[in-house]
Symmetry: C2
Subunit: 229 residues, 2 copies
């Protein structure tokens, strides 16, 4: 760790002087004081990406939901719980050169969440939950004017038609790249140590072989460094 | 650890020869392959209770949801995810002398959970989730005939009128004791290291002082040993 710190200090990486924002982990959307809606993101891929960007010399702002994997060292950590808090943290961050939205943000939040624990009333009927759509962080940042990062990278976690859905998502969100992966339970990717992604850019799609999440992160960080060079 | 194991081997505790079942942790109820409904139980109190019962010589069957705290050593661990799986595991366990239901079981499950990731359709409207009530494990076991444990202990996690609600719950479920606690966020109990419980029995209520979850567990295990003596 001292060696790594010294290397970073003495050998300027390709991202030295660059600021990059990374979001990571799941969000939790409260139903009442004890219940919430969650997703199976462990935060492992986001943590690996933030670490890989740091290793190339970037100054990293790391906005993370309640993840199972702890944040990397040497980055600025902002911890949030909900999608609304994540957007707030992203908006509050300084202008960055690139932003990687690896968090699995909940699409919806519970509109009528309760300050008291909801109880069964004996009727056998569940309390009706009303949902509203959460802010779309990727689309919001992609649409920024002066403050828009030069490179905006989104993630697409799909279970069907991965590449077609990711390609459509890139256009719809207005971001530069989409890192698409298949999170079907049988792939073992969500919560696992490996990933198999397809990178969708303005010039086409590239299927990367299955490799560890750290290798995926290093490959992506190198691509980001090239794009910013 | 070797010392503890030897003590247990050579000094028969007051629960030697007794079988106790403990449920612990949250349950997760799937919405689709990546999303689920969860609750803030860390499993810490259930793990401590199982460990304390084991220390008094009991043979412990430990049925746990996806908890943050790892199961104790020296107990038989059954890992489940949903409330329905937890009931199944409880029904499949051998006859026990006492059962402690410390798990924070979801009251409802999603009826129309999807095998594919639910996506925003652009309408701004969330997919309608339909819920059904989960099986009531505490009430089910309390109502067992020959297989009913001599002592059935439930938990009540309340945010309002803790003792009144817990006393009513004891009658409604047909269990012997209720361990009631206040899980309002300002208490820091849910997910924390301390607990402040009220024990509701057939003879009345006893407010225990705030203490660590391990001390709460030891005190409860000693009470269980006395009740089974």
């Amino acid at each position: 760790d001292i060696i790594t710190a010294m290397q970073r200090f003495f050998i300027a990486g390709p991202l030295a002087g660059r600021k990059v924002l990374v979001t990571s982990g799941p969000t939790h959307e409260p139903i009442d004081p004890v219940r919430y809606i969650a997703n199976r993101s462990s935060g492992a891929q986001g943590v690996a990406i933030a670490g890989a960007l740091r290793d190339l010399g970037a100054e990293v702002v790391f906005v993370t939901g309640p993840a199972a994997v702890p944040p990397p060292h040497g980055v600025q950590v902002v911890q949030v719980e909900t999608a609304a808090q994540m957007l707030f943290a992203v908006e509050a961050a300084p202008k960055v050169d690139a932003a990687v939205f690896a968090a699995a943000v909940a699409d919806w939040r519970v509109d009528n969440s309760s300050a008291h624990k909801m109880k069964k009333d004996g009727s056998g009927k569940a309390p009706a939950l009303a949902f509203s759509e959460n802010p779309d962080i990727l689309k919001t940042v992609s649409g920024w004017g002066d403050k828009r990062p030069k490179l905006v990278v989104g993630f697409a976690a799909e279970t069907d038609d991965v590449v077609a859905n990711a390609t459509a998502k890139r256009t719809r969100k207005g971001c530069d790249w989409i890192v698409a992966n298949d999170v079907s339970p049988e792939t073992g990717i969500m919560g696992g140590t490996e990933n198999a992604v397809t990178l969708v850019t303005e010039t086409g799609t590239e299927a990367w072989p299955r490799m560890s999440k750290s290798e995926t992160a290093r490959k992506l960080a190198v691509r980001i460094a090239k794009a910013l060079a």
